[in-house]
C-alpha cells in the first residue's frame, strides 16, 4: 500500500505541475464565462441550460485530462523508459498500475472539484437575476450528486484508458481505442433499446447479439449522466444510485485487474 501511495504521489505531483493541466483549467474557466453569456441568449429554461453547460464543461475538461494528459504520461513512462527507474527498485508492476491510477484519479478529482465549484458559481451567476426561469425543484445537493456521478464516469473512462495503454505499444493507438470505448459507452444503451424495440431490426438477430455483447463489454456511461436530474432537481431513487455506483466501481476494478494481469506479462524491452 505504501508503494502504491508513493507512485500515486509522484504521479500527482508531476501532473499537477504539467503546463498542459493549467491550459485545461484555463480553458474550463473561459467556458464557464461563456456559460453566463450562452445562458443569457436563452429566454426559457435558463437553469437547465446553465446546469447542462456547466456540467458538460467539467466532463469535457476531465476527458481532455484522460485522453491527452493521462495517456501521454503513462505512455511516456513506457516509451522513454522512466519506468526503469521505478521497477529497478522493490516496486512491483501491480503497485505501479494501482499507483498510476490513483495519482491520475486524484488529478481528475481535483479537476472536478475546482471546475465543479466554478460550474456551480457560473450557474448561480447565470440564474441570479432570473429566479423565475430556474426549475422549481432545482437543488444544490442534486447538482452536486450529478457532479459526483460525472466524476465517477470519468474514473471509469480513466481505467479503460489505462487498460488500453497496457495493451498497446503506441500512445496514439491507446488514444483511439479509448475514444472508441468512450463513444460506444455513451451510446450503447440507446442503440440497444432502439434495436430491441424497433421492428426494423427484428429479423436481424446477429445485429441484436452484437449490440447485446457490446453492452456487456463496454461501460454504460449514459447511466452516470444525471445532468437532467440535476437541472430539474428531480428526485432520484437511492437504490438506482447505489447500483450505478457499484457498477462503476466494479467496472474500474475489472479494468485494473486486467491491466495488472496484462502488464505483468508485458516485457519492457
Amino acid at each position: 500500500m505504501h508503494k502504491i501511495l508513493l507512485i500515486a504521489w509522484v504521479t500527482f505531483k508531476d501532473s499537477i505541475r504539467n503546463k498542459a493541466l493549467y491550459g485545461i483549467f484555463f480553458f474550463g474557466l473561459v467556458l464557464f464565462a461563456a456559460n453566463i453569456i450562452i445562458t443569457a441568449m436563452f429566454s426559457w429554461e435558463l437553469g437547465k441550460v446553465a446546469v447542462d453547460v456547466g456540467l458538460s464543461v467539467v466532463s469535457f475538461a476531465g476527458l481532455v485530462i484522460i485522453f491527452f494528459l493521462s495517456i501521454n504520461l503513462v505512455s511516456n513512462d513506457l516509451d522513454r523508459k522512466t519506468i526503469y527507474l521505478i521497477l529497478s527498485r522493490p516496486v512491483g508492476k501491480l503497485q505501479y498500475i494501482l499507483g498510476k491510477y490513483t495519482g491520475l484519479g486524484l488529478i481528475l478529482l481535483l479537476s472536478s472539484s475546482v471546475l465543479g465549484a466554478c460550474a456551480a458559481l457560473s450557474v448561480e451567476m447565470a440564474t441570479h437575476n432570473v429566479k423565475g426561469y430556474v426549475p422549481m425543484h432545482f437543488s444544490w445537493p442534486t447538482f452536486f450528486l450529478g457532479l459526483t456521478f460525472l466524476t465517477l464516469s470519468l474514473l471509469v473512462v480513466l481505467a479503460i484508458a489505462l487498460l488500453w495503454v497496457t495493451v498497446t505499444t503506441h500512445p496514439f493507438t491507446a488514444l483511439l481505442l479509448s475514444l472508441f470505448s468512450y463513444f460506444i459507452g455513451q451510446n450503447v444503451e440507446t442503440v440497444k433499446s432502439i434495436i430491441i424495440t424497433s421492428q426494423m431490426y427484428a429479423e436481424n438477430p446477429m445485429l441484436t447479439r452484437v449490440v447485446e455483447y457490446a453492452s456487456w463489454i463496454f461501460p454504460n456511461l449514459a447511466a452516470f449522466d444525471l445532468k437532467t436530474t440535476a437541472a430539474y432537481g428531480l428526485s432520484v431513487d437511492a437504490g438506482y444510485l447505489m447500483w450505478v455506483a457499484a457498477y462503476g466501481f466494479s467496472y474500474i476494478g475489472v479494468c485494473l485487474v486486467m491491466s495488472i494481469l496484462i502488464f505483468q506479462r508485458r516485457q519492457l524491452a
Binding site: 509522484v10 508531476d14 522512466t82 527507474l85 521497477l87 527498485r89 516485457q267 519492457l268 524491452a269
Partner: protein
C-alpha cells in the same frame, strides 16, 4: 557465491515473422567486490543481458541470480542500484524530490534519505541544483542525478549501463572517481561501456560479447598483447569472431 550469475541465458526477439537471436547460452559470473566491464559492439546483446538481469524482460531459457536470489522469482531489487543508459525522470519534480522518491521506493526512512541525499548530491556536484526542476538539468546533470538515484540507498551491487555516455571530461572524471570509491568500499560494479580506456583503467575483469555470444571473460591483461591496447585486442577478437561466423 557470485554477486551476479548469468547461467546459460538465451533470448530471441520476434519482429513479425523475423526472429533475432540476442543472447545464445550466455554464462557469466561477477564476483563480489569486483568492477566488471561489459563490452561489445552495438547490438551485441549487452543491453538485453542487463534488462534480463533487472527482470525487465524474461529469458527464453537460463537463470540469473543476484546474490543467490533468482531474478523473476525472488525480490532482489533492494540489493542493486541501477543507472540506465539514458536516464529519464519525472521532469516536473526537483532533484531532491526525485531522490526522496528513489529512497522511499527502496524502503528507506525519512532520516536516512535526508542524510544520504545531502552526501550523494555533494559527491556528484549537484547540491545547488537539488531544488531545481529536473527539466532544467543538462544531459550531464541528468546522468549524475541518475547515478545519485543508484547510490541513494547504498546497495551492494551497481549496474551501470554506459555511465559515461554523453559526459564531458569533467563529468567522466567524476563518475570514474565514484566507481573507484565504490571499489574501495567493497561494492560490486557491473557496467557496460564503449569507452575502452575507462574500462581498462577501472575494471578488475571484463567480458566481451558479440552477436549474443560471450567471447571472452577475464582480466583485460589476458587478451592485451605486448604493446597493444585493449581497443586493439577488442577489435581483433570481434573480427576473428565475425570471420569464424562467416566461414
Amino acid at each position: 557465491m557470485a554477486a551476479i550469475d548469468f547461467d546459460d541465458i538465451s533470448k530471441t526477439f520476434r519482429h513479425g515473422i523475423r526472429r533475432q537471436r540476442a543472447l545464445k547460452g550466455m554464462s557469466l559470473a561477477i564476483h563480489r567486490g569486483e568492477i566488471f566491464g561489459f563490452l561489445g559492439p552495438n547490438g551485441a546483446g549487452k543491453s538485453t543481458a542487463i534488462k534480463i538481469l533487472l527482470n525487465f524482460i524474461r529469458p527464453d531459457s537460463g537463470t540469473v541470480r543476484v546474490e543467490g536470489l533468482v531474478v523473476g522469482r525472488d525480490r532482489f531489487q533492494h540489493r542493486i542500484g541501477y543507472l540506465p543508459e539514458t536516464p529519464c525522470f519525472y521532469e516536473n519534480l526537483s532533484g531532491l524530490e526525485t531522490l526522496w522518491f528513489a529512497g522511499k521506493a527502496s524502503g528507506m526512512d525519512g532520516q536516512g534519505i535526508k542524510e544520504n541525499t545531502h552526501q550523494v548530491l555533494s559527491r556528484l556536484d549537484l547540491k545547488t541544483a537539488g531544488a531545481w526542476p529536473v527539466r532544467t538539468y543538462s544531459k550531464g546533470m541528468k546522468q549524475r542525478l541518475g547515478l545519485a538515484m543508484a547510490l541513494i540507498h547504498d546497495p551492494q551491487i551497481y549496474i551501470l549501463d554506459e555511465p559515461m555516455s554523453g559526459l564531458d571530461p569533467l563529468g567522466r572524471r567524476l563518475i570514474t572517481d565514484v566507481i573507484l570509491d565504490l571499489r574501495k568500499q567493497g561494492k560490486t560494479v557491473f557496467f557496460s561501456s564503449h569507452i575502452l580506456s575507462d574500462v581498462e583503467r577501472l575494471c578488475d575483469r571484463i567480458g566481451i560479447l558479440d552477436k549474443g555470444e560471450l567471447l571472452f571473460s577475464g582480466a583485460a591483461s589476458e587478451i592485451v598483447q605486448d604493446g597493444s591496447s585493449l581497443e586493439d585486442a577488442f577489435v581483433r577478437l570481434i573480427e576473428e569472431h565475425e570471420k569464424a561466423k562467416s566461414a
